[in-house]
Amino acid sequence: MRTSDLVRAAVANTFRSKLRTTLTVLALFVGAFTLTLTTALGAGVSDYVSKQVASLGADDVLLVSTASAATEDGPAVYDPETSSASSGTPNPLGGDGGTLTSADIETLEDIDGVDSVEPVSPVALDWVEVGGSAKFEFTISPTSSITRADLAAGEQLDAASDDAQLILPDEYLDALGFADADDAVGTTATLGLTDVLGAQHEVEAEIVGVSNASLLTSGAGGNAELLAELAEVQKAGVDSPDRYQIAIARFDPALSAVEIADLKARIADEGMSGQTVADQLGLIQTVITGITGVLNAFAVVALLAAAFGIVNTLLMSVQERTREIGLMKAMGMGNARVFALFSLEAAFIGLLGSLLGVVVAIGLGVPLAGALASGPLSGLAGLSILLFEPASIGAVIVLIVAIAFVAGTLPARRAARKTPIDALRYE
């Protein structure tokens, strides 16, 4: 029997007992529907997080802090050579831990594989105002000069620019009297700060972009020029030893994961901790993966139940069609082809169930995600909670067809093993 005839016969047989097929397909539908939605949810959240990761930093930088980073195991042992006083204010990007000294920066620059080191000075701002508006409390993320913001309007910071540039979080728009994000771009903001001697200073910066609210970053962004200017003002000419919360070490972006690990090991040997942005987000992503995994597990349990439904349906079908199977075998149909006929029937039932589930899930999910994005989740700009990716939808369909096929092998084997005589005698 030709494969095309086999497929056609399997499809035709599926529709012979419509009620039974429909019920089996519905069981699969539940699994397919759930699995499509849970994978879309996982993809949506992951996509959002990866956008945030991109907003946190380039992939050729290590954020270096003193060794007792939060992501390491247990508290660090005190070492008078390398340990330094803790600043007491954990930075989301730098971990907790002490401050880096100028000596540390020099050590870092000498490490093989580090192209350049930019120490990040802590900048404590008091307020921001635009064009005589009220003053609002304001912070600048110390690592913002290397990150890419998730922009609502305007452009990214220009690291090479000689002008002080600022990216404003969108929550300041209303307060500072802007109509919308585009309105803010190009205006000049005044930043107020107090130097180490207690004197008040003002620094001006151009707003080049407006960033969306983000789960992972806080504060505004400033380019290297602005941060350097602020740090200079803050020092007020006092020649105290420099202390840095973190330093940004740039390396060759062509390095492999193994080479990056080696580089981190060399930095660790010097009593410091170097982490890529991805390292720092590892925990968040692990949590998301875990939640998605649990949801997917529920869907797979539903699919397993459906698989038993397929076994049952096809066993009944084999029983009913005993004589037909016997006739085909008497006429010279081989066991392998009989097996294929019933397995294909199972796979086709799987295909029907998965297609139905996927189509309904998308049909309901897209408007639902839209409603959520403009309603309860509007605070998280850029988040589409359900992201239907063609690849994962394809994977869901393939998975369900495969499960159905496997479930079909038991009845198919029974059909293939029938001898023509027993089958023909069967009343």
Binding site: M1, A12, A330, M331, G332, I421
Partner: protein, 239 residues
């Protein structure tokens, strides 16, 4: 067509030697066939007769290679069927044997044409050729107008003619008919009988008919009578 034993220079179409077959186990064991030997030549029409339970269906199943014997040999054109691979046996049944059963075994829901071309479908003949050959064969049996109907919608006589058409579609050498008229009224039964014997006479197709209808058996060249699994009488054959 010559039917004397003397010209058997070519091996007989079918030959069985010392065939035995039992069913069941222990005390319930039934010996369905006991040391049966016979030959069937090309172009013969043979009736296998006996009471129900005599073993005549078992003999037919063994001859048609649908079942395997406990002991003894089945030779097809002089070749021991036990030496053929399963694929070769399947191909043999598909190409050279046609089957007509008492129950029609038509696939419900499928069209008459689809039912008729089933052996060709199994053989892997392309769709267009199947359709052409199927329609030509239905034409010959005056069933052309039923080609697209569902097989289950036909009358009993039509159904058995569809079954005959199906048995002939692959142009077999040999037709096995198990009670071919058992489910038909006498008029329709007679028509089906006439068609079977016409095939035998005109095209030299060998007929092996299992029946307990004496009139039908009498129309065959010879009768093989089976009682309690043993051959009782071989009419007109030098065994």
């Amino acid at each position: 067509m010559t039917k004397t034993a003397g010209v058997a220079t070519t091996p007989p179409l079918l030959e069985v030697r010392h065939l035995s077959k039992s069913y069941g186990r222990g005390d319930g064991r039934v010996r369905a066939l006991d040391d049966v030997s016979l030959r069937i030549r090309h172009g013969e029409s043979v009736a296998i007769v006996g009471k129900s339970g005599s073993g005549k269906s078992t003999l037919m199943h063994l001859l048609a290679l649908l079942d395997t014997a406990d002991s003894g040999e089945v030779l097809i054109d002089g070749t021991d069927a036990a030496r053929l691979s399963r694929t070769a046996v399947n191909r043999l049944r598909n190409r050279r044997f046609g089957f007509v059963f008492q129950q029609f075994f038509l696939t419900p829901g499928a069209s008459v044409l689809e039912n008729v071309v089933l052996p060709l479908t199994i053989a892997g003949v392309p769709t267009a050729e199947r359709r052409r050959r199927g329609l030509a064969m239905l034409e010959r049996f005056e069933l052309a107008d039923t080609a697209e109907k569902r097989a289950t919608d036909l009358s009993g006589g039509q159904k058995q003619r569809v079954v005959l058409t199906r048995a002939l579609i692959a142009e077999p050498d040999l037709i096995f008919a198990d009670e071919p008229t058992g489910n038909l009224d006498s008029v329709t039964g007679a028509t089906v009988e006439d068609e079977l014997f016409a095939l035998n006479h005109e095209r030299g197709i060998t007929l092996i008919i299992v029946t307990h209808d004496e009139a039908l058996a009498a129309r065959c060249d010879r009768q093989i009578v089976i009682r309690d699994g043993r051959l009782v009488d071989l009419t007109g054959v030098a065994a």
